[in-house]
């Protein structure tokens, strides 16, 4: 199989590579083998499954929208704005990429919790409390997933030819018009790829969610939380829920792949 694409694979590389493939694929195969295919429909129809799935889809979509609205402008600032300390800013805002999500959850709690800096003000001024609500789920997912979008969009902006923005300026377009009508359409594939990555990360979010939003069926229990809980009492249900998430992930991957191919072709 390597003959077609060029050089033969040296044995010292072949063995670990094969092991890696097996290691990554075996668990997924296990999931498929152990799935209770006969009672699948029944399991999926169980109460709670639909609610968890719906909550997951809705919250990660909302988190992606929030990330788009805030993250695309931030990516623009990181890629284009002439401001001091830009690289430091980039390092800081991408911290959630490497931060253990549970730490993110604790941090969010300290800020948006009822005793937190922002949380206490929200409570006093509007009587709004965030922790352990669906809003908290969206906030936790946004915190963890937005950096994926920012990194992706910033990369696309850096790769885009900034001279087109000069052209737009000479054609009477102010900075905002240029952004809307030239910059954004040109980096659209990068934005789409970033949004899909962001959405997938939000969908899988566990640590920050359970810490900051808790685990209440119907309001904060997303699919990953439901899987974890199901594993304690009904492993078969956990397998079914996992299958659903696996399906969604594969669909995402396909979507991304098409997107990347589309960009390569253009």
């Amino acid at each position: 199989m390597s003959r077609r694409s060029g050089s033969p694979v040296p044995a010292p590389l072949l063995v670990p590579a094969a092991l890696a493939v097996a290691f990554l694929l075996l668990p997924l195969a296990g999931l498929l083998v152990r799935a209770p295919w006969s009672s699948l429909g029944e399991q999926l129809a169980a109460p709670g499954v639909g609610a968890a799935l719906r909550l997951s889809l809705v919250s990660s979509t909302l988190a992606t929208l929030v990330s788009l609205v805030l993250g695309v402008p931030m990516a623009w600032v990181l890629a284009r704005a002439r401001i001091r300390g830009r690289s430091l800013l980039r390092a800081l805002v991408t911290v959630p990429l490497v931060l253990p999500p549970v730490v993110g959850g604790v941090a969010l709690f300290l800020v948006f919790g009822r005793q937190g800096i922002v949380g206490s003000w929200l409570d006093d001024a509007f009587g709004v409390t965030i922790p352990f609500t669906t809003s908290a789920v969206v906030l936790a997912q946004t915190f963890v997933a937005m950096p994926f979008l920012v990194i992706s969009v910033e990369g696309a902006l850096r790769a885009a030819d900034a001279r087109f923005e000069d052209v737009a300026a000479t054609l009477g377009a102010d900075r905002w018009t240029t952004f809307r009508r030239v910059t954004l359409p040109m980096v659209a594939p990068g934005v789409a790829a970033g949004a899909v990555l962001c959405w997938a990360r939000a969908l899988g979010e566990f640590g920050a969610t359970i810490t900051f939003a808790g685990n209440f069926p119907g309001t904060t229990q997303t699919m990953p939380l439901a899987v974890y809980l199901a594993l304690q009492r009904d492993p078969e249900a956990a397998v079914v829920l996992s299958l659903v998430l696996l399906g969604v992930s594969l669909a995402t991957l396909l979507l991304l792949r098409d997107n990347w191919l589309g960009r390569a072709a253009s």
């Binding site: 030819d161 001279r163 087109f164 000069d166 052209v167 737009a168 300026a169 000479t170 054609l171 009477g172 377009a173 102010d174 018009t177 240029t178 009508r181 030239v182 359409p185 040109m186 659209a188 253009s266």
Partner: protein, 348 residues
């Protein structure tokens, strides 16, 4: 709509400081080697780069200077870049209509105007295509239409032909000449190709290292170059010296006999085709004869261009047959002869 500009800007090792004036309907070519500051000048005129000090006035309106700085999108100008730079996500027609839309024209009006301009530049019916589907020449024509569609006061052309292949360049240059003749505003054309400057411009300024070293009509520039760079561009050997009677003592050490009385600091200029080469010292008529050394030779059209070193550095064009007959190799000693009447001489 005339342009008056004095621009001083320092960028890295470049210190640009130039004055230019362009009348209505006039085309000024800014000619110079890479890194001379030509594109920087255009960017300042467009407002894409702020000048350190300076003043840009177009049609009596101050674009830059006196504390005012009009941002680029508020300047009524059109600019054509070397690589066309059509927006890849828009159709060709939408590219051309872009400037009208940003300046408030309605969709239908902008479409109609764009279609009209596409027809004018010979791209009728191609408006629905994507820029990637156009050839280089077509893309550059579309870029010209996009720059001119808004009827700008100032047209800036940044090396508009240099990305095109030789054959396309010829046709696009001829078309560009026609459009420039019809254009009522001022045009500044930046190029490093003397042919573009000679073919398209009413006047030429030559910039070297951020300074104007020569200004004049294309004919003046090509007849009487004032720097080695210009002389080489127009294919002349430039020999600075001091005139005394019918002779010019060169700064480099040699001496050139000329056909008229001269005095003071002068340039003597020799065309490559008026230099004849011999293996032995030629006898007879009163002409300039110098022993020189062949430094290099390259084919140049149907002739061979020979670079000669010595007291009087010259460039000579000889036919390929003559070159072969002489059996010249780099380093060979030759005699170069030029009639006194073939030497142009003018004050420095």
């Amino acid at each position: 709509m005339s342009l008056t500009a004095r621009v001083a800007v320092r960028r890295g090792s470049l210190a640009l400081d130039v004055d230019i004036e362009v009348a209505d309907g006039e085309v000024l070519a800014v000619l110079g080697p890479n890194g001379a500051g030509k594109s920087t000048l255009l960017r300042v005129l467009a407002g894409l780069l702020p000048a350190d000090t300076g003043r840009v006035v177009v049609g009596g309106e101050v674009w830059d200077g006196e504390g005012a700085l009009l941002p680029p999108h508020r300047r009524p100008l059109g600019m054509v870049f070397q690589d066309a730079l059509l927006f890849p996500h828009l159709s060709v027609a939408d590219n051309v209509a872009f400037g009208l839309r940003t300046r408030g024209a309605g969709r239908a009006a902008a479409r109609a105007a764009a279609a009209g301009w596409l027809a004018r530049v010979g791209l009728e019916g191609l408006g629905g295509r994507r820029p990637a589907e156009l050839s280089g020449g077509q893309a550059q024509r579309a870029a010209l239409a996009r720059a001119l569609v808004g009827d700008p006061a100032l047209l800036l052309l940044d090396e508009p032909l240099s990305a095109l292949d030789a054959r396309t360049r010829l046709t696009v240059r001829a078309e560009l000449r026609r459009h420039l003749a019809e254009f009522a505003g001022s045009t500044v054309l930046v190029t490093h190709d003397p042919v573009d400057a000679m073919a398209l411009a009413d006047r030429v300024v030559v910039i070297e290292e951020g300074r104007v070293v020569q200004a004049g009509t294309p004919a003046e520039i090509s007849r009487r170059p004032r720097t080695d760079y210009v002389a080489r561009l127009v294919g002349l050997s430039l020999l600075p010296g001091t005139g005394a009677g019918r002779s010019v003592r060169l700064d480099g050490g040699g001496e050139v006999t000329v056909a008229e009385e001269v005095a003071g600091a002068v340039f003597a200029a020799v065309r490559p085709e008026s230099v004849a080469l011999y293996l032995a010292r030629p006898e007879g008529s009163p002409r300039n004869v110098w022993p020189l050394r062949l430094a290099g030779a390259v084919p140049h059209g149907t002739t061979v261009r020979c670079e000669l070193e010595g007291a009087v550095p010259l460039v000579a064009d000889v036919t390929a047959a003559a070159f072969a007959e002489l059996g010249l190799v780099p380093g060979a000693q030759v005699w170069a002869a030029v009639k006194a009447s073939e030497v142009a001489v003018y004050a420095r």
